[in-house]
């Protein structure tokens, strides 16, 4: 009952945008993920109830879109673009550097639950390559030194 109780206003606002409740599924899942850190089973149930679809239909969506996490992720989710423009400018080395620094492979979360590292496809910031996003902030023109600096500020 998380959404309807804690976020009633936001839910209302989202639902008002669309003539068909089903359209609200993705925005509501975002709301779930922002609130709970990932898309929880309870969240799925609730979204299904609010939008009047089956659990399967919500799960179909959750699993299609890569930005929805079906398991908890670290406090800092580091998403490094490793598509072509960033890779031309060393994104692969940056990932290796991050893996070394955090002691995890891309796709994993540190034992203390602080960092998750993943590689992602093009982030639409090729003019600032290489880039990464930590949670919701974009870091452009990265170098290993910049990364070290950024990590230092994350606790």
């Amino acid at each position: 009952m998380m959404l309807r109780e804690q976020k009633a206003k936001a839910v209302e606002k989202i639902l008002k945008r669309y003539p068909d409740r089903r359209s609200a599924i993705i925005p509501l899942l975002w709301l779930v993920q922002r609130t709970a850190g990932y898309v929880t089973p309870d969240g799925i149930t609730e979204v299904a109830e609010i939008t009047g679809v089956t659990l399967t239909q919500v799960q179909e969506i959750v699993s299609f879109y890569t930005m929805f996490h079906q398991k908890p992720v670290g406090r800092y989710l580091i998403s490094v673009c490793d598509n072509i423009s960033c890779s031309l400018l060393g994104a692969e080395q940056l990932v290796e550097h991050l893996e070394g620094r955090l002691g995890i492979r891309a796709g994993e979360t540190t034992a203390n639950g602080l960092f998750s590292l993943q590689t992602v496809e093009c982030l639409g910031a090729c003019n600032m390559a290489p880039v990464m996003i930590i949670n919701e902030t974009l870091y452009p023109n990265l170098t290993t030194e910049k990364i070290d600096q950024i990590l230092k500020n994350c606790t």
Binding site: R17, Y18, P19, D20, R21, R22, S23, A24, I25, I26, P27, L29, W30, T51, V53, E60, I61, F64, Y65, T66, M67, F68, D82, N83, I84, S85, S87, L88, L89, G90, E92, Q93, V120, E121, C122, L123, G124, A125, C126, N127, M128, A129, I133, E136, T137, L138
Partner: protein, 470 residues
């Protein structure tokens, strides 16, 4: 005769005047005039419309935007131009879609069923996901009102009362900025009921995506917006006839819509004059990769690749040799330096053997392994194929598997042709163009750099491995 600029005719009236003068002149004078126009545009360089003051901090708030003439175009159409005439103006401007396919915007709008009474929609495609493309982001992050104004004009033209902006989920800032700008617009009476005191209602909503390149394909975008998996639909019916919620729907790219206020303001002739016959106007070219100054460059569409890479982006890093250019996002064929003098418009790039696509130019210098590039790109398509149709789902996965082995030096000699055959079996047989887009990178790298593939196989490793990529 006098040069029109010298007698103080502003660019707005330039075209009109030019037209009048042109026909009173003899052939010699006409030649002079054409020459003068050529030089004029260089003396008086094109000023960015969408990337105006793009390095500013934060977005341009409503007040500032209006202070420099923002929303005047909207006011103009609301007071003086009938909806169908707006479409006509856009048609005359020759504005072609900036999302990739380059379909003339005005023509698309005129496909809406005539006399249809029910609701219809405008959807702005802000899912910018084509690697190498990053041109819609600055528009939304810096000049959201330009986009909103363009959308309002479009909605007026196509008689839509509701519009959605489908922004890819990773564009957190853009989403935030757009939400704020929309709030501002509502408060100022530029959205909502009775806009600017006229009989025109419009609601614009931002709809976030959640990480799926395929949702940039217009019908997948519609499915996604309807709360389904982003699966491209079978066409026909086309969205203009049966789109969002099965209602007539127009889908346009951010850049397309953001170009519209200036067309209304300065006239279609001005817009045409900036480009060539079939590719008119100005456009943002994102240039990335091994150039000295990667960035977005908004220039008239007459510009050549050479100008973009060498003049605007400052040439190749460390003054190395240019090896390859991807001219329009990764769904387009790789070009070699031979094509540098191609004009970067739809026809120019097509003549050079590729496509303008979304115009994301990726520049690669001599240190780059083309097999590695093809492998990277094949990974992308495997990751982003929606999986709905057989050839794309299975084909992209298969190609990726071969490419990964190929890059490691574990390919087989016959697999180069197998790759070509697989591409052939995907091409033109998938539901949507993603399948078609997955093959040019393979086909063109084999075409231009087959020896690199062969080297990988014969050496059993990547010949570029030891050289650094920077």
């Amino acid at each position: 005769m006098n040069c029109p600029y010298k007698i103080g005719v502003g660019p707005r009236n330039y075209a009109k005047l030019q037209w009048r003068i042109f026909h009173t002149l003899g052939p010699y004078c006409r030649g002079v005039l054409l020459y003068a126009r050529e030089t004029m545009s260089n003396q008086n360089p094109f000023k960015p419309v969408m990337l105006h003051d793009v390095d500013r901090k934060g977005y341009e708030p409503l007040a500032e935007y209006r202070a420099r003439g923002g929303y005047k175009a909207l006011e103009k159409v609301l007071t003086r131009v009938a909806p169908d005439d707006v479409t006509e103006i856009v048609k005359q401007s020759g504005l072609r879609g900036r999302g990739g396919a380059g379909f003339p915007a005005g023509v698309k709008w005129s496909f809406l069923p005539k006399g249809y009474q029910g609701p219809r929609y405008l959807v702005c495609n802000a899912d910018e996901g084509e690697p190498g493309t990053c041109k819609d982001r600055p528009i939304m992050e810096k000049h959201p009102h330009l986009l909103l104004e363009g959308m309002a004009i479009t909605c007026y033209a196509i008689k839509a009362k509701v519009a959605y902006i489908y922004v890819r989920g990773e564009y957190y800032t853009a989403i935030e900025v757009l939400e704020k700008a929309i709030d501002e617009a509502y408060k100022a009476g530029l959205l909502g009921k009775g806009i600017l005191g006229k009989e025109f209602d419009l609601d614009i909503y931002v709809h976030p995506g959640a990480g799926a390149y395929i949702c940039g394909e217009e019908t997948a975008l519609l499915d996604s917006l309807e709360g389904k998996r982003g699966y491209p639909r079978l066409k026909p019916p086309f969205p203009a006839v049966e789109g969002l919620y099965r209602r007539p729907t127009i889908i346009n790219n951010v850049e397309t819509l953001a170009s519209i206020p200036s067309i209304i303001e300065k006239g279609p002739e001005w817009f045409r004059s900036l480009g060539r016959e079939k590719s008119s106007g100005f456009k943002i070219y994102p240039v990335s990769g091994h150039v000295k100054r990667p960035g977005n460059y908004e220039v008239p569409m007459k510009t050549t690749l050479r100008q973009l890479i060498y003049d605007h982006a400052g040439g190749i890093r460390n003054d190395r040799k240019l090896k390859a250019i991807i001219p329009g996002g990764i769904s387009t064929q790789v070009l070699t330096p031979d094509s540098l003098d191609a004009i970067a418009d739809f026809e120019g790039i097509a003549e050079a053997g590729s496509l303008l696509g979304s115009a994301g130019i990726i520049v690669m210098d001599e240190t780059v392994c083309m097999v590695w590039v093809a492998m990277k790109l094949s990974r992308f398509y495997h990751h982003e194929s929606c999986g709905q149709c057989t050839p794309c789902r299975e084909g992209t996965a298969w190609i990726r598997k071969i490419m990964e082995r190929m890059e490691r030096g574990q390919g087989r000699p016959e697999e180069i042709d197998l790759l070509l055959d697989l591409c052939h079996k995907i091409n033109a047989r998938s539901i949507c163009p993603l399948g078609d887009g997955a093959t040019p990178c393979i086909i063109s790298t084999i075409q231009h750099f087959r020896h690199e593939y062969e080297q990988h196989i014969s050496m059993g490793r990547c010949p570029f491995r030891s050289t650094e990529a920077h």
